[in-house]
């Protein structure tokens, strides 16, 4: 079966839902939303805690409520949704191959495509923890799915490695469900997750957070029986003699997220080694004309509000692209990460829209900082810069019109 559409959106999490709504609102008439699961909403469905949409809707929603609000908005449009539909290929000339039990093999020719596949979790093999390979080792998100969707408790005596937000959220969730969370161990000397999660998920339940610690061995034959914890030095190497044995039946890993770009690679989209996502312009366009990106497939964001904001931009741009003749001038300049900047999104500026920059600091600065964007020489003040809290700044299009070369972003102490 072959279909032709204006805009095809891949993935129906917060990024994809917002992109589809905005593509339709911008004027694209044939918008198709492809979702591999049986329901819309993506990972929001299992994020049952509150704290979503504070910025976008001025409401303190849980994940499912946030998703349902977006789905209700989507239902006011004529966007067509295909559930249980797995995209297996995207080509550079925007032909999508997808499979579903209902429709079999599908070929979708799209005038423009929005990538909204989200991210996946880093696993034990990504970080290489030595020891045996027993049952009872889960990524935090998998444990979250077991508890919140399937209704199973994955274990009773839990150690959490890594202080990413999902790990912190699961520390509280498992405690509420009657498990004992012994502690959260973080290799860095600062936490990975948001401060409010440290307070509300760990401190509230007297769960200790051990910074500069890692797991150096997993023990157990059939099931996890314990782990060895070691302190690490300034170079993140385990300190000899600091080993400590801890009994547990479950190990959760909250050690980072990776944008899910297997499909992007097939379309020949150029990826950024730092973010793991496509190299993107402010319009959310990737290196392949007519293919746009948004949400966590682009770079891993801290807040759903940021994800939705990029979704809106991608949907709008994709609709614009679908309705116009291809742009001749694709001139763009690079945006370079300078002093104390670990990564940036987007990393190119193409002279179409205002530049909304998401910046992650390399090192924490607990005093006032200035974010310098040069040219045009904008200086934006912030009370602090922390690697676990993305900074966002907006540079109006008008200020960037005369630009010739690259833009550099620095974070400096004030």
């Amino acid at each position: 079966m072959t279909t032709e559409v204006d805009v095809a959106v891949i993935g129906s999490g917060p990024a994809g839902l917002t992109a589809a709504i905005h593509a339709y609102q911008t004027g694209a008439r044939k918008v198709l939303l492809l979702e591999r699961e049986e329901e819309l909403g993506g990972i929001l469905k299992q994020c049952i805690h509150n704290g979503f949409g504070l910025e976008q809707f001025k409401q303190d929603y849980t994940g499912p409520e946030y998703a349902e609000r977006l789905v209700k908005e989507l239902e006011k449009t004529d966007v067509q949704c295909l559930l249980n539909t797995l995209v297996t290929n995207i080509s550079a000339d925007r032909v999508i191959t997808a499979l579903s039990p209902e429709n079999g093999a599908l070929e979708i020719r799209a005038k423009s495509i929005v990538l909204a596949m989200g991210c996946r979790e880093r696993t034990r093999s990504n970080i290489g923890i030595p020891g045996t390979r027993p049952a009872g080792i889960f990524t935090a998100g998998v444990a979250q799915r077991f508890v919140n969707i399937d209704g199973y408790l994955p274990g009773k005596k839990v150690v959490i490695l890594g202080s990413g937000d999902i790990g912190l959220i699961m520390a509280r969730r498992l405690t509420l469900e009657g498990a004992r969370v012994i502690g959260v161990y973080e290799i860095m000397n600062y936490p990975g997750g948001l401060k409010r999660n440290i307070v509300q998920c760990l401190n509230d339940f007297d769960i200790p957070l051990h910074l500069s610690h890692t797991i150096t061995e997993i023990k157990g034959r059939e099931r996890v029986e314990g782990v060895t914890i070691s302190e690490v030095d300034g170079d993140l190497r385990p300190v000899e003699g600091s080993e400590q044995s801890i009994e547990c039946d479950t190990l959760l890993l909250s050690v980072g997220l990776i944008p899910e770009n297997e499909l992007s690679k097939k379309a020949g989209i150029e990826l950024n080694a730092h973010t793991g996502g496509p190299i993107t312009a402010e319009t959310m366009e990737t290196s392949v004309p007519g293919i746009f990106t948004c949400g966590n497939v682009s770079t891993v964001f801290d807040l759903v509000d940021y994800v939705a904001q990029t979704g809106a931009a991608a949907g709008t741009s994709a609709a614009r692209y679908a309705s116009s003749s291809p742009r001749e001038n694709r001139r763009s300049v690079e945006i370079v990460a300078g002093e104390n900047v670990r990564l940036l999104f987007p990393e190119r500026y193409g002279f179409q829209d205002d530049l909304i920059l998401f910046i992650r600091a390399a090192e924490p600065v607990e005093k006032p900082v200035v974010i310098e964007v040069t040219p045009p020489g904008s200086r934006i003040n912030r009370p602090y810069a922390r690697p676990n809290e993305m900074l966002r700044v907006k540079i109006p299009k008008g200020k960037l019109a005369q630009l010739k070369d690259s833009i550099t972003v620095n974070i400096r102490e004030k």
């Binding site: 049986e38 329901e39 469905k45 049952i48 805690h49 509150n50 303190d60 849980t62 499912p64 409520e65 998703a67 349902e68 508890v147 919140n148 969707i149 399937d150 209704g151 969730r173 509420l176 469900e177 009657g178 948001l194 401060k195 409010r196 440290i198 307070v199 509300q200 401190n203 509230d204 009370p383 602090y384 809290e389």
Partner: protein
């Protein structure tokens, strides 16, 4: 009541001020480290009774999934979380359930209702 010192991290906004408070029971004598006045309200409430929104799941029958997410419709005393959790352990809903449907009225005398946070149609 004796004068005591306590450390708080304010969660009113993302800055997360680290605050040292000297207090006598629930009366604040002095506080240090907060960048705005909103922290005062937060700290006084923390001294009187820490209040939080509870989010969890309850069992459901006749739906695509075996549990459905719920939350308290307003903040409840944190110390009552175990009691509310225990109450919810015995609840079994029947699909269909609509988002914001009341699952438990006035849970353990808090005045807060437990409400569903998603719609779950009948399978």
């Amino acid at each position: 009541m004796a004068v005591e010192k306590r450390h708080f991290v304010c969660v009113v906004c993302p800055i997360g001020c680290e605050i040292d408070v000297v207090h006598d029971g629930d009366k604040i004598i002095s506080m240090e480290g907060n960048k705005c006045e909103k922290s005062e309200e937060f700290v006084s409430q923390e001294l009187i009774e820490p209040m939080r929104i509870l989010t969890t799941t309850v069992r459901i029958q006749g739906a695509m999934w075996s549990v459905i997410p719920v939350r308290s419709d307003k903040a409840v005393p944190k110390r009552l979380f175990p009691r509310i959790m225990k109450q919810l352990r015995y609840i079994k809903l029947q699909a269909p359930v609509n988002m914001l449907d009341v699952v438990v009225k006035d849970s353990v005398g808090t005045g807060a209702n437990i409400i569903a946070t998603r719609t779950m149609p009948r399978e």
